[in-house]
């Protein structure tokens, strides 16, 4: 396109215009040059490995010897002969189903409180964002252990009411919920996005509604939620993808095992263990592709259903 435009203009253009054009093209090239690090990164570090992992998923590859083609065996084993795979799928789905709503509700609640125009908003915003920055760190995992272990803070409080709690973080029936809580606690980025969305809702709508005698709850249902729908949709999609890919918290808190008894064995954690711990890189690659397809499918589902619940202000037809 650029070439066609420039060629036709050159023929007609006086020298001054040609110079301007040249400057414009130089700028464009400079733009690509500045993009180069990203492009190199994408093609060499992302696209290349992604494609080679597709190939590897059809091989038996132990990292030390060259891969051996075995067809769809990895996929067959995954679906029909590996109970731990299905265990990991279940753990991950439970985590997604619980952590995404929990985190978004929390984020929306805090965003609405902050939207009330309290003094020192920026300070609070920064403070509430802090957990998201610390989230994946070893320090937080240690903190979480301190809070939810047998002699942790939670049990200290429960003891006041005469109840002796277990070590929540290392009991198979409760461990996953501590990770859900950890995720909900890191509500910073959806909160910021919600806050921006709330700011865009015209205040006169609320004024008109309250003049008509609508309760706060009704205003929330009829004004805030519909007008915030695009932002909610965006957050749901993003957080769902994130939740499917969750790794660090379980990795650090369970010491890399996904324990006890695989109760926190996230899909990605199992993938990592199979690939790097048990030297089954072909199998791990196959798992990665299944995860990619699952995430794509869930995102597609979100987009398909969105027309029933997401409304855009500037789109009269919907």
């Amino acid at each position: 396109m650029t070439a066609a435009v420039s060629d036709s203009t050159i023929r007609l253009a006086p020298p001054a215009r040609a110079r301007r054009l040249r400057a414009r093209i130089d700028t464009r090239l400079a733009g690509y040059l500045f993009l180069l690090p990203w492009l190199v990164g994408f093609f060499c570090l992302t696209l290349g490995p992604t494609l080679s992992s597709l190939y590897l998923s059809f091989t038996d590859f132990n990292l030390l010897q060259s891969p051996r083609w075995i067809g769809v065996q990895n996929y067959v084993r995954m679906f029909f002969a590996d109970p731990r795979f299905w265990g990991a799928v279940k753990v991950t789905l439970v985590y997604v189903a619980l952590s995404v709503p929990a985190k978004l509700l929390f984020a929306l609640g805090v965003a609405m409180l902050l939207d009330k125009g309290i003094r020192g908003l920026t300070v609070y915003r920064a403070l509430f964002y802090l957990p998201s920055l610390l989230g994946a760190s070893v320090a937080i995992a240690v903190l979480w252990r301190q809070i939810f272990s047998a002699d942790g803070v939670v049990n200290g409080v429960l003891a006041l009411f005469g109840y002796t709690g277990p070590s929540w973080i290392s009991t198979p029936s409760t461990a996953i919920y501590t990770l859900v809580l950890l995720s909900a606690w890191q509500f910073g980025s959806p909160m910021i996005i919600f806050l921006a969305g709330l700011r865009q809702i015209p205040q006169d709508l609320y004024e008109a509604a309250s003049m008509d005698g609508a309760s706060k709850w009704r205003q929330f249902r009829r004004i805030t939620l519909p007008l915030l729908a695009p932002v909610i949709f965006f957050n749901v999609v993003l957080q769902t993808i994130d939740a499917f890919k969750a790794f660090t918290s379980a990795f650090i808190i369970s010491g890399g095992t996904g324990g006890p008894i695989d109760s926190t064995l996230f899909y990605t954690l199992y993938l990592y263990e199979e690939g790097f711990g048990n030297f089954r890189m072909g199998y791990a690659s196959a798992m990665a592709w299944v995860l990619l397809i699952a995430i794509a499918a869930s995102t597609a589902a979100a987009f398909l259903t969105s027309k029933y619940w997401v409304f855009y202000e500037d789109d009269g037809k919907r």
């Binding site: 040609a18 040249r22 090239l29 990292l63 047998a150 198979p172 010491g255 006890p260 008894i261």
Partner: protein
């Protein structure tokens, strides 16, 4: 036309700039004539080991002009992932710490350098003795140099035993003794302290137990050596121990990551810990009460279950560009007084009698206890078992899960043992 000219010029300029930036980063251009020789050494272990090893390597570095050695210390859990990735990427470190469990795997796949040709000129380790050298051989070729010997060992919190009014056990104690003593210790203490850690998921302890019944964990041809009955007996022993309040409950034990700082003994939650002898110094550093060391419990009428093994080895990567230097570094760390003095006995008792003699006068009380312990074990052990097959690491984790299943009441010992045997067979193929 002029535009194209300019574009080309621009691109050319850009390419020059880009190559100037990129090429040195990929090591394609050697700009400096006096480049130092660069080598890399990598190991797993705690802080004390990192400090000692770095110090020793720096001394070696200083003895040679133009040598730079980059070092890296990892936790055991991350180490093998790291090494596998480095080797797969054609980026193996020149010198790497090796474990008996992985020696066969790496040697058979051609990733390690055979070292026999360097003995004795560069690698002066003949005094390690034939047995020791053989334990580091695969297919009659030497692929590892022993950094120290160890054996499994029980650590005891002497203060807790005194408080419960029971004498410390001798090497001849039995599993029943351990159960009885553990229960007494639990009784003598308040909430949050138990007699023993829960070692039902500990592969080394299970192995010793099985060997006392004459079974190796793995046979010479890489199959599982134990059956469901023996496994069930083991899991049942620990189940009874838990029920009798002798060992820590499963949700507490689940937080033990196998590292010194998360061990039940070190955390002050238990008085008895089943471990390896070379951990004694680290444990004592982290524990305020005096620790004692003895053998794993025995089975009445059983055989000797323990064995003395190379706790770690040093291996040289087959791809190293500086094989002689790498071998010299290895020799420096296991034989040269300058290096061995710094390393001490943190990795186990040195295999060379000369080094042992050199270190003897400076040993701490704990160090001496450890050396004495290996000497005590010397005639109470059975031969080294065949090296574990590929997949042994997975089975180690499997045992832990099965023990947890029993502990959390998700399966009986019999069912968990049956699953263990079936799953192991699937893993080993």
């Amino acid at each position: 036309m002029s535009i194209h000219g300019s574009r080309r010029r621009f691109l050319k300029r850009g390419a020059v700039v880009a190559s100037g930036l990129v090429l040195p980063a990929f090591g394609l251009q050697s700009t400096y004539a006096a480049d130092p020789v660069r080598m890399r050494a990598i190991w797993w272990g705690g802080q004390d080991r990192a400090r000692r090893t770095n110090e020793a390597i720096q001394i070696f570095e200083k003895q040679r002009a133009e040598l730079k050695i980059a070092t890296e210390s990892n936790a055991w859990a991350d180490y093998w992932t790291k090494v596998a990735t480095l080797v797969a990427g054609g980026n193996a470190p020149d010198v790497l710490q090796m474990d008996y469990r992985y020696l066969v795997e790496y040697a058979k796949r051609g990733t390690l350098l055979p070292l026999d040709a360097y003995i004795p000129k560069l690698l002066d380790i003949q005094d390690f003795g034939a047995n020791n050298l053989d334990s580091c051989r695969v297919d009659a070729k030497l692929f590892g140099v022993n950094l120290g010997t160890n054996s499994t060992a029980t650590f005891l919190d002497t203060a807790a035993f005194a408080k419960a009014g029971i004498p410390l056990p001798t090497y001849a104690w039995t599993w029943d003794d351990m159960s009885r003593m553990s229960q007494e210790i639990t009784k003598s203490r308040g909430k949050g302290f138990w007699g023993c850690m829960d070692s039902g998921g500990g592969e080394p302890a299970f192995e010793v137990f099985a060997r006392q019944y004459g079974k190796d964990l793995y046979t010479a041809d890489g199959k599982l050596g134990v059956d469901a009955d023996l496994t069930a007996a083991w899991l049942e022993y620990w189940n009874n121990m838990r029920k009798a309040n002798g060992c820590v409950p499963p949700d507490v034990q689940a937080l033990d990551k196998g590292s010194t700082d998360s061990a039940m003994l070190v955390l002050g939650k238990a008085a008895i810990d089943l471990r390896h002898s070379n951990f004694l110094e680290g444990f004592q550093l982290a524990h305020k009460e005096k620790l004692a060391i003895t053998m794993y419990p025995q089975t009445k009428g059983g055989k000797w279950g323990q064995y003395i093994k190379p706790s770690q080895m040093l291996s040289v990567a087959a791809t190293t560009k500086n094989a002689e230097l790498a071998v010299q570094l290895t020799n420096f760390l296991v034989k040269d007084p300058a290096g061995t003095k710094v390393l001490g006995i943190e990795r186990g008792v040195p295999a060379s009698p000369a080094v042992r003699k050199l270190l003897a006068p400076d040993l701490s009380e704990v160090g001496r206890a450890m050396v004495d312990y290996i000497a005590l074990c010397n005639d109470k052990v059975s031969p080294l078992p065949p090296p574990p097959p590929t997949g042994a690491g997975e089975i180690q984790k499997l045992l832990n899960r099965q023990n947890q299943k029993v502990g959390f009441g998700q399966a009986t010992a019999t069912v968990a043992a049956k699953e263990f045997v079936e799953e192991s067979k699937r893993i080993l193929g």
